[in-house]
Symmetry: C2
Subunit: 218 residues, 2 copies
């Protein structure tokens, strides 16, 4: 099976199914259904069944899915049945919040090194991690064989830092800076941009009723 | 034109086009093309033209798009040619990073109120905002007519808080907690979950070459 042939939009939903399954699992329930997963997600049961069918059958007609089995299979498909070392670039407010974030636990990632170029931050500890100087970034990432990085630097430094970490061997970047990055085609980039999520929703909201404002797009 | 008839996946890309246009605009360039936008985004020029065609023609064949005009039209379509008040629930590490985040400026949103239930945080200032007690949340959101909230509370409190803010009139929630929320169908939810972005990318990475590990999904 080629990993490239399955639509990327389907791949993007697998982590969301996995998150839902981990929630269902926490109630020690053995069997679930596409309907139950759908209730958690606002995605139709038919869509969920179709997405999962790309990877073969995970359940028998009428008997539902075994929660543990489906969870393990999704973890294996997404390659998170192992833990990946992640480098964090930037130890400002966002970087510190990332280190302290509880949502990474048991989901396949461990932040193993943090960098910043601010002398006031270097050598300080965030949880158990000591902030390293940014000029050590290339050599450290290469030595540790780190392939994934989170970029939490100001927008104006994001492109430059992206080039440095890619040169050091990073293949996947989670970018918190509100700018698009230009990287070689072999490098994967995902964005964490709260405004993109907010603007996606305001499209659907009823127009504000401020006096004098236009109230529709056409 | 009905807002519901355009595929949601297309709507989800408009904020990304808008972000790219704001970047192009910053170089004081008057005209752009689907090819240039595509270069910034790793989305094909054909896809961009097709997405934009849902909203009518924004450019003449062969002459490209006027950057300012296209930007203004996208802002209007997404209803961010105005500023929305946003309530932030949770003043922990993530909440503080959100308040300090520079990426909201000029993109349609202003955080106007912050809540927490921790007495150590209440009444403290984050930038110019004073943290309010969570038990004032319902009445404040209703009085201010706030329709959008960001939820940055621990996972175990997210569902309960979501129910409270929805009851107070919130129609759109940007959820930073790593759990799915169950809300009425009229309420929009988007998630900020770094692990979803990371897992999306690890799917595509070459398997790790640890000894004894399986190296493919089939």
């Amino acid at each position: 099976m080629s990993r490239k042939k399955i639509p990327d939009i389907v791949i993007g939903r697998l982590p969301i199914y996995l998150r839902a399954l981990m929630h269902i699992d926490s109630y020690s329930q053995q069997v679930t259904s596409s309907h139950e997963i759908a209730e958690h997600l606002g995605i139709s049961p038919a869509q969920i069944r179709k997405d999962l069918s790309h990877f073969g059958g995970f359940g028998k007609q009428g008997t539902g899915y075994n929660v543990d089995y489906l969870r393990e299979q999704l973890q294996h498909i997404l390659q998170v049945d192992q833990e990946w070392d992640v480098a964090l670039i930037g130890a400002g407010a966002i970087g510190q919040a990332i280190v302290r974030y509880g949502g990474f636990h048991g989901r396949g990632f461990r932040i193993t090194t943090v960098f910043d170029n601010d002398p006031a931050k270097i050598s300080r500890k965030i949880n158990h991690l000591v902030v390293m100087p940014a000029d050590r970034l290339g050599v450290t990432i290469r030595q540790m064989g780190i392939r994934i990085a989170m970029l939490a630097v100001p927008a104006e430094h994001a492109q430059g830092m992206a080039e440095k970490i890619v040169e050091a061997g990073v293949e996947a970047i989670l970018n918190y800076a509100p700018v698009n990055l230009v990287v070689p085609p072999k490098v994967y980039v995902q964005h964490i941009d709260p405004v993109v999520g907010l603007q996606h929703m305001t499209y659907y909201l009823e127009p504000k009723r401020d006096p004098g404002m236009t109230t529709d797009t056409e």
